[in-house]
Symmetry: D4
Subunit: 162 residues, 8 copies
């Protein structure tokens, strides 16, 4: 796992370093497809200026998709989406008391006009793969890799012994 | 109901004009105590710059407390709280499908360091009265009015015939 | 609203004709951006062969993104996602008794490897706009239209009088 | 516990090997009644072709009832039910964050025409016994065994000392 | 709709006459397949003796499957299941305040040993069809009818115009 | 803790021996007030005849109040209430997956005419004390003990040092 | 319906006059058994002194059981229970947004030592009948009436035609 | 952590000593800002007189804000709010079975006229900081400290390495 690479195309943001255990599965999934990414801890509530700085430079630096993970009143993905027109994928991180139901609803129930592509609770791996699906729209080699990934997944299940 | 007055001390923000029916109960409550307020439609997601503008001038214009109401992924109060150190009161507005449970959790489950004083679903009236309680900390006449308000409320219940 | 056009790039599927009132907001959003789409009633449970037929030809016919809406045990988006590597956007349609909580969880809680980009309950409009965000990754004119759309949205809120 | 026998009449499917600890209680219950069964890991989302293959041969091989267990967006039982007219029993497997509420709703809230006989969360034992109840409709010896099972259960409770 | 026929093979019980609007869809579904049924209002809580009488004679009168629908603390299906080894299908009827979540959990979360085959909230039609699936295990003509029913359902969806 | 005494006035029933850790708090509370009780494992679903036997003799043996605890589809209290006009107190026992929400709703949402006096999840101690409140209606010495219990409880809190 | 009688033995309290439509079913149930009762609007939050006054005189005036109904943060029954050792029956009144789930949890989840005998949401009728069950412990004529009530209820169900 | 100081301006109440681990984060937060506070265990239900005593002297002793934390049927904050016009901040303490959902709803869904400024589940730290926000309305040095606190928080996030 690396938090930055020379030319990242996916930015992975998280509201707190405690989300790293969950969110690093997004970077691992992207790396599995050879998609460069960077990871940053940026809080919508506690470091709003840092978020502005990040978003004002992201597209120019080549970022195409942003993945944002947060827990509780998980505003990060929504606030990111309100500041950029890049596709934003939201990862509701499991919270201590309410087990991520708060994170899920805070991430997905966005108002008309500002969508967040939300994945399941703690499903950072799927967020990474969803980013690959989006990038594969204009990258035939990624599309091929997705086909191979699916075939491999099916093969593993077929080979499962119980 | 007036949306602006000469010298408002409470700012009432709402994410959409459709929240007005709920949120005007906050302004009515404040007016009942003679506390000047202003109301604005400002969306955290759809008009983030307008929100910045509002918050950068609010304290200077004499605003002491901000009440923010929104529904669904209700980020407004939290985003306001992240940009000001004035006390922020959040009103979770009832949403269509989930009846405000999403609004409530999105408003109240804030991360450590950035609190939102949350009231019940659609409880804009209580938001207005809570602002009065806060202002009464340094305004003895308001404190007296609160005593009278309570006494009146109790008297009305005592007089209820069934 | 038209259910088919000459060269659609987004396919909108729904589990039942009763979902049309919700799902047509996706086609309207896409049309607002000049993105051609087609709409089909296809049930994962009641017409699985029809779904196979649709998916086996979709990419070849130029479909780039699939939006799938269903209610209750809303399997449609997930089953579509399991048969294609095009990005799949899921719309949980509000159900009668549980108000879409069942639809939401059935759509979003996908297993690792097969993501569905889920939007809020009944948020078909946002599904359409999310498809535009994805397509804009490789279409600069769409990216410009999204900027204009955001600016227009913010302007409307700024102009709201209460 | 055996995963296959010469002439199985009940097929037990599960979406992931991690469901085995729960699902083997179904096979143990069936074995207690002398009903032969087989167990397979087949994912509706990750190995759809394997599922097609299994279902196209099941009835011909003598399978009379299918038990399907999955967690999260638990589509397995519903997808099985859409491809066969054998009775399908769904076991919502407890999920990590939402404790099986997602699995339960995804399994049970099927559209009209395609029922899944759902049992409680993680209630694979009851799924096995329910299959016996169904098979006992045309097998008098199984019906007798069910009577004995009930009597034994009642006797054990009567003998409980506290 | 008829509440009784000469030789019923499915018994449909409901806790209150107010459940009839929901539960008659079970009898209609059965009639569509030519399966004779009878309907009775019997409350587990308010008429326990009547329930005993019904169950003691049911099997002898040719009843093979019992469908039981109730709302709130919906004990009917479970209590029926505790008194018979015929397969019992539970229909959680939507309740006024909690919209059937109480009915669903009260019906499905049965203890080990006494399963209730539960269908979705208000899904009495599916309860009827599930009974047909069970009966078709030993009735080839019913199995054929189910195939035709499925084909017809798929055809209707294929023919849907939007 | 004793499970039986010479002349019990409260009967404590539980659906499974695994409920004993929770339910013994009821007997301990009763013993604290000098109220004799007996405890029995009786399942509404798995030993319905044993339940009939118990209830047919309870009043005659001097039982005045019945406390019933169960988890999941917790029908025990309701079924007891349907067979006796003694006051029935229900204890929803915490269940594994749904943490007692199922037990709570299954116990409390009784139909009109057959009430169960329900206490909180796992609140067997309060069930015991509630029985004392009921018995104290016609037993002045118990009423006095309740006053002393309350005074003692308040005193302990007053003395708490932190 | 009368709100007061010469010598009431049951006091029915409600937090707001808007609860009357629900709560009068308690008084009607009591009247059906010839049990005198009185009804009062008293709010735990808005008229705490009135509540103190009521409770300090209740036992002396012959009140034996108190029924308390409230919605939302429904503290009334709990606060009443903390001030008296008479048995307290809580009626969670359905609230507008959360449909009484808040009322139910606020009423039933009492701390150890201070139980509230809670009935279902809006189940004021059952609260009245539960009070009769309690009073019947020392009133044989009431016990007889309960037997007759049950028999009548069963008879009505037996006579139901569908 | 100290439970009392010479001249406290914030009173921190909790329903049980078991809430101390959570609630001491409020006192620690206040101490971080140099705001004196005192902590008391006082139960709304088990020691109502002690609560009356505390509240009748609080304002006179210089208390300006009261923070109240409780779990389950968490009435403490609401009962405090009904007896004082000082601002009351409620902390829903996580409960064992329902994880604080009961505590949250019991604290926040107050009736019109008696607001409780509620923070997230177990968010006692935020309760302390919210009290500082309120006090800062009339204390410029506290306002400055809040600015510094925010800047420090943002700086720490900016410096986070992953």
């Amino acid at each position: 796992m690396v938090s930055s690479v020379a030319k990242p195309v996916v930015g992975i943001l998280m509201g707190s370093k405690s989300d790293l255990d969950v969110m690093k599965e997004a970077s691992e999934a992207l790396e599995g497809f050879g998609v460069a990414c960077e990871m940053r801890v940026i809080s919508a509530h506690r470091s709003p200026k840092l978020l502005d700085e990040y978003l004002s430079s992201a597209r120019g630096r080549g970022i195409s998709v942003i993945i944002a993970g947060a827990g509780g009143a998980a505003h990060l993905a929504g606030v990111v989406a309100s500041h950029t027109t890049l596709p934003v994928i939201g990862v509701p991180v499991e919270s201590k008391s309410l087990k991520g139901l708060d994170s899920l609803l805070s991430t997905i129930q966005m108002p008309p006009g500002v969508p967040v592509a939300t994945v399941g609770i703690n499903a950072a791996k799927n967020a990474g793969i969803l980013a690959v699906h989006m990038l594969a729209l204009s990258d035939a080699s990624l599309a091929k890799k997705l086909d191979a990934y699916r075939a491999d997944m099916a093969e593993k299940i077929r080979a499962t012994k119980i």
